[in-house]
Symmetry: C2
Subunit: 165 residues, 2 copies
């Protein structure tokens, strides 16, 4: 069951498609249906996802792809900045779409691993200053805040609804 697409989503998808096409052409890579199906699936969904979730979603589509192709395509999309890769915990990587959304960082709930997003211009300032100071051209950063949600008196978590000890 596919969600009906609104104008904005169609517009966004055509933009990212163009970017991906240009990237593939410039690098003399093939325009395979699997690659486009994966890109479309990513920009159809919302929020963060891991490789397994993406693989499962692809199964529900006409193009069932192998895990290897998912990894391969994600590498390409990383290279042309259409997705961002996160390594929140130890285990598997988490991805999110990167085009058409403003830069943001993440707060991860210690209780339920829920991910909240926030923006703060000071991070850019720190990045610029440290680049100057340490003589580096900083081209990316990752900032994760970890914490426990403030709880109401009944002892359940406001954010994730789970009981907190």
């Amino acid at each position: 069951m596919r969600m009906p697409q609104n104008k904005q989503q169609i517009e966004l998808k055509s933009q990212v498609l163009k970017i991906f096409m240009e990237y593939l052409e410039q690098n003399e890579l093939r325009k395979t249906p699997e690659r486009f199906a994966i890109l479309d699936e990513i920009y159809t969904g919302k929020g963060h996802f891991d490789v397994e979730q993406l693989y499962e979603k692809m199964k529900e589509r006409k193009y069932t792809v192998s895990r290897a192709t998912v990894y391969n395509t994600l590498d390409l999309l990383l290279a042309c900045n259409l997705v961002i890769k996160h390594q929140f915990g130890a285990s598997q990587a988490v991805f999110e779409k990167a085009h058409g959304f403003k830069q943001h960082d993440h707060l991860i709930c210690n209780k339920c691993n829920n991910i909240l997003e926030f923006c703060d211009p000071r991070i850019q300032q720190i990045q610029n200053m440290m680049g100057d100071l340490l003589k580096f051209n900083i081209n990316s950063h990752s900032l994760y805040l970890y914490g426990d949600p403030e709880c109401n008196k009944e002892g359940s978590c406001k954010t994730c609804g789970k009981k907190v000890k």
Copy 2:
């Protein structure tokens, strides 16, 4: 070949030993020689290390420990805040000692994976503000900057000395 220990290092080691002892006692855990040997090795070395490096260093000591014990002990040292765990890239975790050193964040060289440290009070401010705003008690953060070293005209990297394309 063990480095001669100076006063400060002896002082630091006795502090962390005390903290670890107390932690073990309070949690009714055993004081095994392996655990103390690992703690000592960590606070003898400097900089960042991964599990494999620590495992190899232990081999050179009187206590050759199994990898399982290294992982187990690192978990304990994490729990009592004597080491910090980093997940810079995708693969294996990187650790560093945490007691007696001021809070800092990390800049990772894209060319050679060398790690530089820096401090900036604004990170604490961001942490406090976002905690308030999103109703979370933030208890930790990780900020990693990634970048390429500015290079001299000969094309070698100032920081890591490696040739840069």
